[in-house]
């Protein structure tokens, strides 16, 4: 099987299921050990953003897609909320001192830095965030300086 989807309620309590789904795929995807956490963490941040922001007035769902391509493992998250490009948000000031430091925006920073490629599109009334993680160790790795 090279891809699968899972639809979950967009609620924080369903994060554990989302992680279990993605982690099964991570085991097949032949990612370097130090890249595996990048997938889980980037996915958590994207999933939680949808839970907090996509459906302000009602319940909604998140669709997770995992797929294996020759060179990449892909995780896509879609929601049916109002148009919102999560990648348009700036990262927080990573050099602020303790008392000035804010956490807002950190999730998006992780999504950008932990994935090898990331893109957003709006399609058929859905926000779709696509994160790609390079397979085979040595080709690319989670780069904290990106």
């Amino acid at each position: 099987m090279t891809s699968a989807t899972l639809r979950l309620p967009a609620q924080v309590g369903h994060l554990t299921e989302a992680v279990a789904f993605v982690e099964q795929w991570v085991d097949h995807a032949e990612l370097a050990a130090d890249k595996k956490f990048c997938v889980t963490l980037a996915m958590e941040e994207a999933f939680i953003n949808i839970c907090h922001y996509a459906y302000p007035d009602q319940d909604g769902t998140v669709q997770l897609l995992c797929s294996l391509e020759k060179d990449f493992f892909i995780v896509e998250l879609s929601d049916a909320g109002p148009p919102f490009d999560v990648l348009s948000i700036d990262s927080p000031d990573l050099e602020a001192g303790l008392m000035e430091r804010k956490v807002g925006g950190l999730g998006i920073h992780f999504i950008r830095t932990l994935s090898d490629e990331v893109s957003y599109q709006r399609l058929a009334g859905h926000n779709i965030l696509r994160m790609q993680f390079a397979r085979s160790p040595g080709v690319a790795s989670c780069n904290p300086n990106k």
Partner: protein, 111 residues
């Protein structure tokens, strides 16, 4: 995630085991806040058994650090390793927290 709290002398120790994510962060915040009372406190968090942290966890640590500092206390982290350390580095949090390789080092630092 398991949270163990103990007190030795003037230091409150919190030991974290497992994952600090959006699901476990709320409970951690509730428990940890009880240790940041109105008086200055020394709070050590032991990370050796924590194998995952997300921005939800970092948020709680930041809230705790600001509270402790604003009341004249100190928050120290010890034994941060592996992927948790990488997350600290990527987020810039390594630079704003007091971090030590071991509890004895942290105790020596507070004198």
């Amino acid at each position: 995630m398991q949270i163990q709290i103990s007190k030795e002398g003037r230091v409150n120790f919190i030991s974290l085991t497992g994952k600090l994510d959006a699901v476990t962060a709320a409970d951690f915040e509730r428990q940890a806040i009880t240790l940041t009372g109105p008086d200055p406190c020394f709070l050590f968090i032991y990370f050796s058994q924590l194998d995952y942290i997300s921005s939800a966890g970092l948020r709680v640590l930041l809230v705790m650090a600001k509270r402790v500092q604003s009341k004249g206390g100190q928050l120290h982290f010890t034994n941060v390793t592996g992927t948790v350390m990488k997350v600290f580095e990527i987020s810039g949090f390594g630079a704003i927290f007091r971090m030590w390789n071991s509890v004895p080092e942290a105790l020596a630092a507070i004198g």
